[in-house]
């Protein structure tokens, strides 16, 4: 089967995102039980996403006074599409690549940047104060996420002398980027949390806004938004596994399985942080991003560039 054919590509990317979103829910709930010192009930964990999804399917979608109805529908679709574009650009093993394009890293950076539009639209569309505030928050933070993201991805591309994700994975044959560029992965995970509006950087949908951009959403609309958020988290983990953890490379197991294991590890790290670290103050994060994260990311680029010469 040629994975670059449109149908196969859509099926593969869709399967990765849906299965990944399911795993995110299960792992997140497992962390929740552990952090709450409760017994981890495996059966309930596995069945939980299906149960909650079914309830949302049965719940009527809500509406508000004069919402921007088209944008409200478009927002989760846009976010899922961006996550799909990112996953498509990442080869899952030497034989499984939907669109390992020459400029893959540029595509990934651009797609992640457009997540901002989706989150903002989701907040804007409800015509309600709390969702709108959530949307504005994400816009205020977006550049603080995107600058370090772009820099660490560029740094990862330097040893490969290519912007193709497949080439970046191949360049880690002897040593993974997480070792060669120790600053890269931590920076990437921080901004990844922000892009996925997750855990301590879930400011757009935060509890202080009674759910933020989701405060007026129910039913299928809520289900699609939750799927969209988790899709971004999956996309962040897939890219992280490929760019920093050597992608499909590893002994004994088939390449796609190594990729799945490494993605799962990053999903576990990202979701685990959500149960350990409190919500960060918006202004403080912007200061930290511009005073610490971006300069550190620049150091990462300069050092990686010098080593690549």
């Amino acid at each position: 089967m040629t994975w670059s054919s449109p149908l196969a590509g859509v099926l593969l990317v869709g399967a990765v995102l849906v299965a990944g979103a399911f795993v995110v829910v299960v792992v997140d709930r497992a962390w929740g039980s552990i952090a709450a010192h409760q017994r981890v009930r495996v059966a309930a964990l596995v069945a939980g996403p299906a149960r909650d999804g079914a309830l949302l399917l049965l719940t009527r979608p809500s509406t508000t006074e004069r919402p921007d109805a088209q944008a409200w529908v478009l927002a989760p679709a846009l976010v899922v599409a961006m996550a799909a574009a990112v996953v498509a650009a990442v080869p899952l093993s030497p034989g499984i690549a939907v669109a390992d394009v020459d400029d893959g890293i540029v595509l990934i950076g651009a797609a992640f940047a457009l997540v901002m539009v989706g989150v903002y639209l989701h907040g804007w569309s409800a015509n309600s104060p709390m969702p709108l505030t959530g949307g504005y928050r994400f816009v205020a933070l977006a550049l603080s996420y995107e600058m370090p993201l772009a820099l660490v991805l560029i740094a990862a591309a330097l040893p490969a002398e290519s912007l193709s994700v497949g080439a970046i994975v191949a360049s880690q044959h002897d040593i993974w980027n997480v070792v060669r560029q120790p600053l890269g992965l931590p920076l990437y995970l921080v901004v990844g949390l922000g892009l996925a509006t997750w855990g301590p950087l879930n400011m757009a949908d935060g509890a202080d806004l009674a759910g933020g951009t989701t405060a007026e959403v129910s039913g299928v609309s809520r289900l699609s938004w939750e799927l969209a958020r988790r899709s971004v988290l999956v996309a962040v983990a897939v890219v992280g596994a490929a760019v920093f953890l050597g992608g499909w490379q590893g002994p004994l197991l088939p390449g796609w399985l190594w990729m799945a294991v490494k993605t799962l590890v990053l999903v576990a790290v990202l979701t685990g942080l959500g149960h350990r670290v409190a919500r960060i103050r918006l202004e403080r994060f912007v200061v930290v991003a511009w005073a610490v994260l971006i300069p550190v990311a620049l150091v990462d680029v300069f050092v990686s560039g010098a080593l690549a010469l």
């Binding site: 962390w31 929740g32 039980s33 552990i34 952090a35 709450a36 010192h37 409760q38 069945a47 939980g48 299906a50 149960r51 909650d52 999804g53 079914a54 309830l55 399917l57 049965l58 719940t59 009527r60 979608p61 809500s62 006074e65 104060p129 505030t133 504005y136 928050r137 855990g199 301590p200 879930n202 400011m203 935060g206 509890a207 202080d208 806004l209 009674a210 759910g211 989701t214 405060a215 007026e216 959403v217 129910s218 039913g219 809520r222 959500g274 149960h275 350990r276 670290v277 409190a278 919500r279 960060i280 103050r281 918006l282 202004e283 403080r284």
Partner: protein, 437 residues
């Protein structure tokens, strides 16, 4: 029943609690019930759970919240304390009274709704304009000027200078009395620029008792109110204090995104015993070392005891003022009680103060044994001293709240509201007059 319905019926029951008179304690216990999920906003709920007795001021917001549930939806009622409120609850389409704290009854109603055995509630309010506005004003937006107006009964944004001198949109906003992250009944009239609060004032207290109304209560801090006029076991008071502070800490952790540790504290609060002092000390130490919690609370909502007129109470102690009614209470003298104080007076100091006092309360409960406290002029409640004729601690704290909120970002404003541990019903309550006898 199809596969989807069967799966949906086995999901956690999403409940949005609306708290009336005497309902706060029962509402807090919801978080510890298995198979129940307390949601932040009504859109995510299937059941609206009325806990306690509604008041006339709460009726209209109650109906509005009901209509925000998307459906299938239903209202259930946990009646707590004294009877009453039936004539107000009758305004809702259908209400089923359930036993307080019974998760299986909530599950039964939820299952019936999901599988279609019970009809979803119709709207409680008519879908009509409450105030005429269409066609009024130069742009038909319901008011004067370009941005003035009240379409759909809500004011549009105006313009006001921000601290940099720029003219920015300023949105008038009423938040409460059923805003999830707020204490039940708190109503704030705000003007916000973006997510920065520029003006804040308190709305009417919906628990205010009018002539002819039934008495208030039972209060969450009722055991302390009762102790002003009645004998009370010291261990019981201190256990209630520890439970109160742990429940508060659970709310604070939830607000700051740590929902799982919050569940742990909420569960611990329900089964707390004097022997748990060591565990609570360990938790207090662990949370006190959290850099992320410190960063979200440090420097936020600084209270100055002089300027804000707070001479006693837990908020004052978090500023370094060692005032505590237990110091002059004969029942506490043999227990070696020394007030705990923190410095700084910010939300972080208040957080650590309450956790440390929760641990101290358990130690005192263990030491107190069967010791009884005689009625006295003042009892140290979980928020401050309760004395006949004196304003309640919550009333004092509500008074300083608007000033603390001005120029705060929304997240910080919520941190401040939570950190003060407000009880709006307590603020409307009178301390028993017999205490002065």
């Amino acid at each position: 029943m199809g596969l989807i319905s069967r799966l949906a019926a086995s999901a956690d029951v999403p409940v949005f609690p609306v708290v009336g008179i005497g309902g706060r304690t029962a509402a807090r216990s919801l978080a510890t019930l298995g198979g129940i999920r307390v949601v932040d906003h009504p859109r995510a709920a299937v059941l609206m759970l009325l806990v306690g007795r509604p008041t006339r001021s709460l009726l209209r917001p109650l109906l509005a919240v009901h209509d925000q549930l998307s459906g299938p939806r239903c209202t259930v009622w946990w009646r707590t304390g004294r009877d009453g409120g039936d004539e107000l609850v009758a305004a809702l389409p259908a209400v089923e009274v359930l036993p307080v704290g019974d998760a299986s009854a909530l599950r039964r109603v939820f299952t019936e709704l999901v599988n279609g055995a019970r009809a979803s509630d119709p709207p409680a309010l008519d879908d009509i304009e409450t105030t005429p506005w269409r066609g009024v004003g130069p742009y038909g937006q319901g008011g004067s000027g370009m941005t003035g107006g009240t379409p759909y009964g809500r004011p549009l944004v105006g313009r006001a200078p921000d601290p940099d001198g720029l003219q920015l949109d300023q949105l008038p906003l009423q938040v409460g009395p059923f805003f999830g992250p707020f204490p039940p009944g708190l109503v704030l009239h705000l003007e916000v620029q973006g997510d920065v609060v520029r003006h804040a004032s308190l709305g009417e207290n919906p628990f205010t008792r009018w002539p002819g109304d039934a008495p208030l209560g039972p209060l969450e801090s009722g055991v302390f109110f009762d102790a002003v006029a009645e004998v009370a076991p010291v261990a019981g008071l201190e256990l209630a204090r520890a439970r109160h502070h742990l429940r508060w800490a659970s709310d604070a952790l939830r607000l700051h995104g740590l929902c799982s540790p919050a569940r742990r504290l909420a569960a611990l609060a329900e089964r707390i015993a004097p022997g748990d002092a060591e565990l609570v000390v360990r938790i207090a130490r662990q949370l006190g070392r959290s850099r992320s919690l410190a960063s979200v609370m440090r420097g936020v909502g600084v209270v100055d005891p002089e300027r804000h007129g707070l001479r006693q109470g837990i908020v004052a102690r978090s500023t370094g003022v060692p005032e505590d009614a237990r110091l002059s209470d004969p029942a506490y003298r043999p227990l070696g009680f020394e007030p705990i104080v923190h410095e700084g007076g910010d939300a972080w100091a208040r957080f650590r103060q309450r956790l440390d006092e929760a641990a101290q309360a358990l130690i005192l409960a263990e030491r107190a044994g069967e010791r009884i406290r005689a009625p006295g002029p003042a009892v140290e409640g979980p928020r401050g001293a309760l004395a006949a004729g004196a304003p309640s601690p919550s009333g004092q704290l509500l008074g300083i709240l608007p000033e603390l909120l001005v120029d705060q970002e929304w997240g910080d404003a919520l941190t401040i509201v939570t950190s003060l541990d407000l009880d709006v019903e307590e603020a409307a309550h009178e301390v028993p007059a017999e205490a002065s006898a």
